[in-house]
Symmetry: C2
Subunit: 273 residues, 2 copies
């Protein structure tokens, strides 16, 4: 933590801009303090946040970095004109060239999600989250025909967080199904998966890492034992190879990277973006 | 859908930039086609994507919009120099002023999440997701003392997707607990919640909307009946008032907006950002 402060000022939630801003700041070793000021949608609130930023600038002797995502022109003008921080106008920077390119004015509508709670896209996302929850860990084999993807892999290979991420971020109906020792003994895909083999995508993981993760949950168990982890992963990979299921290793990947790789591979029809 | 195409080209997943880019594009009525090209991390891949973009420009007679999040200088140079699209350099635009401001070079490390799979922040996020799943819908009253927030409200008021979003986006351990008719008859908070009242945050919802949502799940049931929804919501709000629990209405709000409002209210200590 340093004496440098970064503000995220938005007239909406500012979440998308903040997440993106964080990925830019991650390019520096400096670790500034983050202050989030969402819903700044009136002149009064704009002046209040300007005062706060200017006091901070004075106190710290260094001007704060101020990431703005303000679509309201009046609020934007107040902050730009009076704020003593280093302003990064994340919207304006791109809106202006796009207006030129599209030969159309932007609508300056506050918040990506205004009234979106009723939109089809939003409804689909919530549906996808509910679907992924209901089909977590092979809980239900019902409606697997409407799944966009079914993640398969041994317990703790990363299926659950990846399914939820696919649903939440991309509105993808992602079921997940654990491969268990019984499946390996039977030497074939679980019966409920067989008709959906083409929608399956496998996750595997390094046995040492798996053993470590499982030991956090059940220390000293057979489940967590390295030899057992090796056996399960070996069998799971053999099965995926035999069934022609694409897979990746989650060992060094974040859920964002896993999800992006899966989307690249399955390219579901219903994915809008 | 128009004849205009937008590319998102990244040497990482490009997800944060794409989500942010979408919120910028949402300011226009034009609905361009989206093409995602993640993991463009070699000269070969850069030239391939340039060829693809240039062919598209020729075919459509309009230059594509190309959002770039490339930290690799060589790849960036290839795309900038040869691509006939309208380039929006989402990283460079902000990295340069920040380098000046921080008096430090950025490290041009590819991907926000490179090797992050092992970082503490990432570990905490995964932990939070597991916590929120284990404490969904009042499934477990164990470990509620380590929860950052406990969402309370009637069934289908939006608790589950909000908890998962808080966990996934912010690494917040968010439990959720349904208020059921038995709780209203007893006229007090569920016993397991009582010691944690100060961490509770309420969600309420318009009865008509609730009835509509519940009817999708159980058509014609008492559960979905409008009169019953009115009763439950009225009792839930009475309880929250009496117990001094802050709440908001999820009716017209997206999970992003609900989550941001909750964070503004609870300001958990362990929230890094």
């Amino acid at each position: 933590m340093t004496d440098r402060t970064v503000y995220f000022v938005s007239d909406g939630t500012g979440i998308t801009a903040e997440t993106f801003g964080n990925s830019i700041l991650a390019q520096f070793t400096i670790k500034p303090r983050h202050i989030r000021r969402p819903f700044i949608d009136t002149s009064e609130k704009a002046y209040a946040v300007v005062r706060e930023i200017n006091e901070m600038a004075e106190r710290e002797g260094k001007r704060p970095i101020v990431f703005l995502t303000l679509v309201d022109r009046e609020v934007l003008k107040i902050v730009r004109d009076h704020c003593k921080g280093r302003v990064m106008d994340m919207f304006g920077t791109f809106i202006e060239p796009l207006e030129e390119e599209f030969e159309a004015k932007s609508n300056h509508r506050v918040g990506r999600f205004s009234d979106i709670a009723k939109s089809q896209e939003y409804h689909d996302r919530i549906e996808a989250i509910n679907f992924s929850l209901a089909h977590d860990d092979g809980q239900s084999a019902k409606n697997l025909d409407v799944a966009d993807v079914i993640l398969v892999g041994v317990s703790r290979s990363g299926k659950t967080p990846t399914s939820l991420y696919l649903a939440m971020q991309h509105g993808i109906k992602a079921a997940n199904y654990p491969l268990i020792p019984e499946d390996f003994e039977r030497d074939r895909l679980p019966t409920s998966l067989a008709p959906h083999r083409r929608k399956c995508f496998g996750l595997t993981i390094d046995p040492d890492r798996l053993s470590q993760i499982r030991n956090e949950r059940r220390p000293g168990s057979k489940y967590a034992d390295l030899m057992n982890c090796r056996y399960e992963i070996n069998e799971a990979e053999k099965m995926m190879k035999r069934e022609g299921i694409n897979w990746l290793s989650s060992t060094h990947k974040s859920i964002e990277e896993i999800a992006t790789t899966i989307l690249n591979d399955i390219r579901p029809d219903r994915l809008v973006y």
